[in-house]
Symmetry: C2
Subunit: 420 residues, 2 copies
């Protein structure tokens, strides 16, 4: 079975929102062995929606649409689908009552447009949306399945999880497919490719390796598709085969790998801290709270993360972290001496076992010939060891913040691992 | 002229990366009046790439492809394009020398795969990539333009800005199109729609209003397409018309609006602070540094933002913000009394004129019947005024962090505006 994702809405074409829905949907479908073979986006016109659907149906068995189901006037998906499948629009009392109940629950008055939300094509199987107003719709037409979902991410996610995927799994029998993803930080794609060239050349035909570069990170993904006949234990055999190749891959580049699958670098750091029973403190200047955010995004982080001082001003570096003012005057806030003092200060101020500090010039202004924009010093310290590192990143403020956080977290990981 | 964006790569179909490239490209093209009428994504196979290109060429004059140009073995775009346009692959000495120079500049050894990077279809106009290794390519075939760019965002952005858009503007004459975007926070789409219904009904045919809902924010976008003959001052006339409708829209919902176009809520707060010469401090518990990150993402924020205490533990709330331990014991860390004490403490500790504090239960655990997951208290304080607010958001940790930050920043905005 193959699937095509169709995103409907001018807001995607105009680029005012980033389409995070379709990547989430792809992940979930792939996990169930449902292969996404294409994605497309069309605008909010009848002609574009019809063309998008027809092109998708040329190659896919299932077409899942998102967007265009809201109560506001730019949303015409529902009417277009009714026309396309020769359905009549009928008022659905059950859906209307559910929407009424929804507004009662969130304690807001129900807008009058909600009668339209409950008017639906009579040929659709209604997918009950318990977390929003617009229901999903499931059509079957010429042996293909057409699903229409709201574009609001958590409503789409609810309907995919509780309504769409269970129905797809029931209706189709999928060919086993499996993935293994290795997560690396702070090394470039080309260098990694060079180190694992022999491994890559030795992979069998039905297992592919892909490089997924991100900012300061590269993910390596092995994908296996079951090559032979469908035997009862095909999935298990494929899993075993992938696990063996995965183990071989890990052996090539052990020190670059911080985790697997959907782990995060901050989560990996958290696990190392939890394993030792240590508390980590952060003292952030140019990263401005982003490291703290990465760490506190991890559920349960309060077990190993007491907090951070975001010392954007020199005054706070001095007052809260005890960095001597004359040290700042002598070396500048972006210097090895100051990040060492910040990390040491954070250990005491925040009562931690290990601390990481960052000070740099994120840009776009503030650079000097000596210390251009992108210059970042960082330190990791315990009470008896300090490691420092200087990086020169680029000229983009947000990228510098993000890269600095990644390199700082990776430095904590290596420190805890004993590799630095 | 119409444009189609084609993203190439299994990593998009499998959902392991979010396609931020195409939204950026759409924005930039729209700004120049180049209309994006479709987007699609295909996998890393020759057949899928060819089909994607052919379908795109059915309705668009320009097809811009991203991805599939890296040196690693899953990248086959270049060869497929050469075949499709009957081009020969030839080694390009100039490109090779540029790549050599690039590696010299970043002080890394050049991997041997770089000879392949410099082997290019002879029918392509080479678009020089000064920020990476893979060059862009521009083909003309049957009166259509085909552009291939690397998928790494900053390389794509460099090539779009310096090579692709200038060539497109030169080659085509575009129909004037213009947009105005109004940014609102902390009110739902349906309620806004109700308040501006009469305005919306009064819009002429060639001006459309779209609702772009995000987490805790809704953007309202007016789009005008020049309806008549192309007169010399068409763009200016369209701009004036849109500005008049924009002013009318602002009058309907003034207190909901924090900015326009690509402003950010934190940037708007920064402007209000700068206007008064005030310093803002933050004391964050459940938001864990995310408010600090939002504020320090604004270039020049050090002028009005000295820093933050991320007081994840009660100990730090007490030690750095002076929140009495018995206050925490009596009311709990998530309480009105504690956020007031945190904000007051931040004023003193961080030496600011105004402070915002947040304490809540982000989840997934930690809720009680009294204070379920999603319960968040926040306070904004100066030395002589305090405003507090309690919210109950949802069950998702990252959404709670993000919503809490948005509501807290909006509260600071309203406080500075004098509307609360």
């Amino acid at each position: 079975m193959t699937c095509h994702l169709l995103t409907i809405g001018d807001e995607i074409l105009i680029g005012q929102i980033v389409d995070t829905n379709s990547s989430w949907m792809s992940q979930q479908l792939n996990l169930r062995g449902i292969r996404v073979i294409g994605k497309s986006s069309v605008g909010d016109t009848r002609a574009a929606i019809v063309e998008g659907i027809e092109l998708a149906a040329r190659h896919a068995d299932v077409i899942i649409m998102t967007g265009g189901l809201g109560p506001t006037k730019d949303d015409i998906t529902k009417k277009t689908l009714a026309e396309l499948f020769n359905a009549k629009m009928v008022f659905d009392e059950i859906t209307f009552q559910r929407i009424e109940g929804y507004f009662t629950k969130i304690q807001r008055p129900m807008p009058p447009t909600m009668r339209d939300q409950a008017t639906l094509p009579d040929k659709a199987t209604i997918l009950t949306n318990k977390v929003g107003t617009a229901p999903g719709m499931w059509f079957e037409h010429n042996n293909k399945v057409y699903v229409s979902l709201p574009g609001v991410p958590f409503e789409m996610e609810y309907l995919m999880t509780h309504e769409v995927i269970p129905r797809l799994v029931e209706r189709f029998e999928a060919r086993p497919i499996a993935h293994r993803t290795v997560l690396t930080a702070c090394e470039g794609e080309s260098m990694i490719a060079k180190r694992i060239e022999a491994f890559e050349d030795g992979l069998p035909e039905h297992i592919k390796l892909a490089y997924l570069p991100g900012l300061g990170q590269v993910r390596l993904r092995l994908t296996g598709v079951w090559p032979g006949e469908l035997v009862p234990d095909a999935s298990q055999q494929l899993d075993l085969e992938l696990d063996a190749h995965l183990a071989e891959l890990v052996e090539q580049i052990p020190e670059l790998i911080y985790g697997f699958e959907d782990e995060t670098l901050s989560g990996a750091v958290g696990n190392l801290l939890a394993g030792r029973g240590w508390q980590l403190a952060t003292a952030e200047s140019c990263t401005g709270g982003y490291i703290a955010h990465q760490l506190t995004s991890v559920p349960g982080s309060s077990a190993w993360y007491p907090g951070s001082v975001v010392s954007y001003s020199n005054d706070i570096k001095n007052k809260l972290l005890g960095v001597p003012n004359d040290l700042i005057a002598a070396h500048g806030a972006v210097s090895e001496n100051v990040v060492i003092a910040m990390a040491k200060g954070a250990l005491d101020t925040l009562g931690a076992d290990i601390a990481v500090s960052v000070s740099g010039i994120a840009g776009p202004d503030g650079g000097t010939p000596d210390k251009p924009v992108g210059t970042v010093w960082m330190a990791v310290a315990t009470r008896d060891k300090v490691v420092t590192k200087k990086h020169i990143f680029g000229r983009d403020r947000l990228k510098n913040i993000s890269l600095s956080s990644t390199y700082a977290l990776n430095m904590v990981r290596q420190f805890l691992d004993g590799t630095i």
